[in-house]
């Protein structure tokens, strides 16, 4: 072999070795809401992602780095979200997409991920049929059916007559439908239903109707935030508790980050949800402590923070399993088999068939713990529970 050819071989070998040893940067596109009326929810996702990255950002194979790129979709603006996703995929060449508070935004992004083959992990967007829109979609958050349906079944054991009051938009309709089905199937009677417009600041007229109908229990659903507080206040202002009407709902009505604002009127409210900041398990205690340390003693993480946390955890898991060389189809295979027994909300996994989240649903009651209001977990009403809507609506 001549000197020239050995030099060539050496050069190629050197190039190959340096290629292997070169740092791998995995780009993750994070779309959330920083401005507009939805910024409170978007902020929760942002805090969750940043906290995870701060505490666990280095738990990667040697030479592999992660670069998060944050974008603002300004609210439930599907066209803006789609455009941002397009840019992230085409311009920044992200290998993962995550975040997304709003269902319409996720629904607009989904077909894009199918075409571009980019794995998309929803940290919040809960529309039941989104996983069917793209084979590269997986959800780590929740669906409303997961909490409202078992709540309906549980409630029918204690109460015979219920009245539903939900916010008038699609998640509200989903929650109402799920609860009604669960409640009726278990023998209960729905004596009335009301849908409150999203612009309403005052829930009194609707709660007054409830009072007139004299049910035993109200089922409520609002998007977490000031609507939840307003509905709670109306319940207490009209003294519905004294009139013997109990208030129950999905965890959105007593969401942890808002709970302190609701005051003592929230005491005794029972909800079913997949996460409570007051949960005693060690993984959660660690999260809450870290959250308070990073963002302020008075603040509590809500379920969206945990959604973001687990989404990032699943992405990191996929990166580790592939040693930084991320392939979309392998990633989806890893996602399908993902199991995490140590999430702050308890054991979770992904359903390989639907790519949706499988988790426990807990019955909680608002009590005072250490002078603060907390959603105390009483029992697990549904263990390793799959989204029931998909069970009822199997694709033909």
């Amino acid at each position: 072999m001549g000197i020239k050819s050995s030099m060539w071989i050496a050069a190629i070998a050197l190039a190959a070795v340096s290629g292997l040893a070169a740092a791998q940067t995995v780009k993750i596109g994070i779309i959330t809401t920083y401005s507009g009326p939805g910024s409170a929810q978007g902020d929760q996702l942002d805090k969750g992602f940043k906290l995870y990255l701060k505490l666990n950002g280095d738990k990667l194979p040697p030479g592999v780095k992660v670069e998060p790129i944050y974008r603002d979709d300004t609210g439930a603006n599907a066209d803006a979200a789609k455009r941002l996703a397009q840019e992230l995929i085409v311009r920044e060449k992200v290998q993962f997409l995550t975040g997304v508070v709003w269902t319409p935004n996720a629904a607009a992004i989904a077909p894009l991920t199918a075409e571009a083959k980019v794995p998309f992990v929803s940290a919040n967007a809960a529309g039941v049929s989104i996983p069917r829109m793209s084979p590269y979609f997986a959800r780590v958050s929740f669906t409303l059916w997961q909490s409202a349906y078992p709540l309906g079944q549980w409630a029918a054991k204690k109460f015979k007559r219920a009245y539903t009051v939900v916010s008038d938009f699609s998640p509200g309709h989903e929650a109402e439908e799920a609860f009604t089905k669960g409640f009726k199937e278990a023998g209960g009677e729905i004596v009335g239903s009301a849908r409150v417009p999203m612009t309403a600041t005052d829930f009194i007229p609707y709660m007054q109707r409830v009072r007139d109908a004299k049910p035993e229990v109200i089922f409520g659903f609002n998007p977490a935030g000031k609507q939840a507080t307003a509905q709670m206040k109306a319940y207490s202002d009209l003294d519905l508790g004294k009139a013997g009407i109990k208030y129950i709902g999905t965890g959105d009505i007593t969401t942890d980050e808002e709970l302190q604002n609701m005051g003592d009127s929230a005491l005794g409210v029972m909800t079913v949800h997949h996460y409570s900041a007051a949960a005693e398990r060690p993984a959660n205690k660690a999260l809450v402590a870290a959250y308070k340390k990073e963002y302020g003693e008075k603040l509590n993480p809500g379920f969206m923070v945990v959604g973001a946390w687990d989404a990032m955890d699943m992405i990191f898991h996929a990166i580790r399993e592939q040693n930084g060389k991320v392939d979309p189809d392998k990633t989806m295979q890893i996602f399908r088999n993902y199991k995490n027994p140590n999430s702050p909300r308890g054991p979770i996994s992904i359903d390989p068939e639907t790519r949706d989240i499988v988790q426990n649903e807990y019955l909680r009651e608002v009590r005072k713990v250490g002078g603060q209001l907390a959603n105390v977990e009483l029992e697990t009403v549904a263990t390793q529970y799959k989204d029931p809507w998909k069970e009822f609506n199997k694709p033909k």
Partner: protein
């Protein structure tokens, strides 16, 4: 029948409280737009600021409720005077479009500042003990705070009307609203009048925002979300008038609440349909001056 009456009373009562808050916030806008001809879409910013000042004073500094309210009024009135002298006054001769652009720019900036300082979550409202709970009269329970709201707002309204009808300052304002050029030619210093009136209107907005924090949550996006309702109160009531927005706010508060109670499916539409009907019938508003 007894039950229906009882429910109606309850609905009317709550609607009244909501309407009063709307009025206290919006009356300043009516006067500003009527007096100065200035399209101040940023009016909600002053209401929001009042809410933030009062809640900060109470939550972080432990200042008692009445003092915090006064603090909100004074702080925002003073700040609005500064804004008026520095920025607003330059645009009195500009067209409406420029004023729209400017005030929307102001809203954007204040939303960002509110977010930076206070975060995105709605501010917690902790009412003083003596205003919590229920009051019992006429055989029913009424939330104490809403009773207080109604009584307090009515007294503010009374003071305001007295001030405008009976004082010299009020006469000057009325003159300037009716015929600015004439008012100037009889020697009324309209520029100082504008500043003072603007400050009063903004201060009232702040008071309304602070009082109403329990009903209309204080959040950075407040000025955008509720702008429509303030504008509706002023347009339906009539620009430049005090009585008009009062009636409009009461109607909106009570009728909107009653409508949501009786026919909840169309509850969200009522305000807008009512606005359309009133404005087509009387474009100048219920008590405005016909063009």
């Amino acid at each position: 029948m007894q039950d229906l009456l009882s429910s109606l009373v309850s609905v009317a009562f709550h609607g009244l409280a909501y309407g009063m808050i709307l009025y206290v916030i919006s009356v300043g806008l009516s006067v500003t737009m009527g007096l100065m001809g200035f399209v101040n879409l940023a009016h909600g910013v002053f209401a929001m600021a009042g809410g933030y000042v009062m809640l900060s004073a109470m939550n972080s500094m432990g200042i008692p409720f009445p003092l915090a309210l006064i603090a909100a009024f004074i702080a925002v009135a003073l700040a609005s005077m500064v804004l008026e002298r520095l920025l607003y006054s330059r645009l009195y001769t500009a067209g409406e479009l420029e004023q729209v652009l400017f005030t929307i720019g102001l809203i954007f900036m204040s939303v960002a500042v509110a977010r930076l300082v206070y975060g995105t979550l709605p501010q917690p409202v902790h009412l003083p003990e003596y205003l919590k709970g229920q009051l019992h009269f006429l055989g029913r329970d009424f939330p104490a705070y809403r009773v207080f709201l109604i009584v307090f707002s009515v007294s503010i309204v009374g003071l305001l009307w007295f001030g405008v009808e009976r004082t010299r300052w009020g006469a000057m304002v009325r003159a300037a609203v009716d015929f600015r050029a004439m008012a100037q030619s009889v020697g009324i210093n309209t520029s100082r009048l504008f500043t003072l009136t603007f400050a009063l209107g903004s201060g009232l907005a702040a008071l309304g925002g602070a009082l109403g924090a329990e009903i209309i949550a204080i959040q950075p996006t407040y000025p955008f979300e509720h702008l429509v309702f303030f504008l509706i109160v002023v347009a339906v009531g009539g620009l430049g008038s005090l009585r008009g927005p009062f009636v409009a706010a009461l109607l909106i508060g009570v009728a909107d609440t009653a409508c949501k109670y009786w026919v909840p499916e169309v509850g969200a539409f009522f305000i807008f349909i009512a606005t359309i009907v009133v404005l087509l019938w009387r474009p100048e508003g219920l008590f405005g001056k016909a063009a």
